[in-house]
């Protein structure tokens, strides 16, 4: 996945790993990807892609459910 949540109040950030799916992130103002690009968070909870197959990186778009190699 790479990257980390950005927050002025780091202790407010909560993350949850979804088995086989994304990382849920709550309480962050942005997500900084591993290239240093900062993506603002506009939802109460965002799903960060962990499989690298999303077409909407850094966000999950459900592609982790597609058959592998398809």
């Amino acid at each position: 996945m790479g990257g980390h949540p950005v927050s002025a109040h780091g202790d407010q950030v909560r993350t949850t790993k979804c088995p086989g799916g994304p990382l849920l992130v709550r309480g962050a103002e942005a997500w900084e990807d591993k290239d240093g690009e900062v993506h603002p968070v506009t939802r109460p909870v965002v799903a960060v892609c962990r499989c690298r197959r999303s077409e909407l990186l850094p966000w999950c778009d459900g592609s982790h459910k597609l058959p592998k190699g398809g």
């Binding site: 949850t16 994304p22 909870v45 077409e55 909407l56 778009d61």
Partner: protein
Amino acid sequence: MRLPKSRGPLSAWVRNAVTHPDPVDPLPPITTAPGSSLDDDDLQLALWMLYELHYRGFDGARDDSEWDHHLLRARREMEVVLERDLRQICREQVPTAEPERIVEQIEALIAQSPDSGLAEFIEEHADRAQVAEYLRLRSIYHLKESDPQTFALPRLTGRAKVALAELQYDEYGAGRPEMLHQDLFRAALRGSGLSDEYGAYIDELDAPTLASNNVMSLFALHRRLRGASMGHLAVFEATSSLPCRRISRGITRVGLPPEVSAYYDEHVEADAAHEQVALRDICGELVAAEPSLADDVLLGAQVCLLVDGHAASQLVQRWRSRRTSTLPGPTPEPRLWAVTR
């Protein structure tokens, strides 16, 4: 909105009863054959109208008809028929719930459900008129998107309640009026040259599409069925991201403007998160707190798959049979995502 045209004795009775104050004639007998209520136009429209009294109501209907005991009693009679059918048609697919594995069990139901092929058809084959027809059929729900589940909120407690409130907040724009999903869909309708008026296309809805709306109200308006409401929601959210991408591509392919695809693009991203919230934080936590609801959670999940799947496959079949070209026939193979939207 204006009152829908009646389609038979039940809907004619409701039309009359919501507009006239005095004792109404008794509800005509419900003659729906067991197992056929999803395809009963008159029953589904009559029930839809009775539910609509709890949302925005109708022009010309009595304002107090929402809690009129004649109407509530009629609603109950129709609901009994619908719920009996839903339990009957879901019985075979739904396993006995294992509360600690509820998330995996919902995911398994989704995985084994056949793909209607609707999103793929819209992506690759639909013409502009078919895309417009799809938007009109979906408009009845999307213009009150998420409102049914809001009725379930006071029936939940603790973690599941927090998670449902979080999900609904996002559906309602997360503090940004311009992102209210209902209004994103209004913009999509306008961008397609269609009316964005609430309920404008009700007379076009077929029975299965009305049924897919009605089951959400049935589950959310009965505290007893709160588990089914949340199971339904989880499947709804978990079968949205990938189909929405296909629908967005189809919309662009037929040359409709970006404000039409924007609704679907928003749902690719939003529902990837909503899926996880609904499965884990709503259904998982609800069942952890109230294990006795686990069976109803699975029932609601399977109802969403079957009812939305039925409406979607009816539409694809209508489209396919109207075409004479050499389109591939229906391929109801199980997919990892059950396409309903």
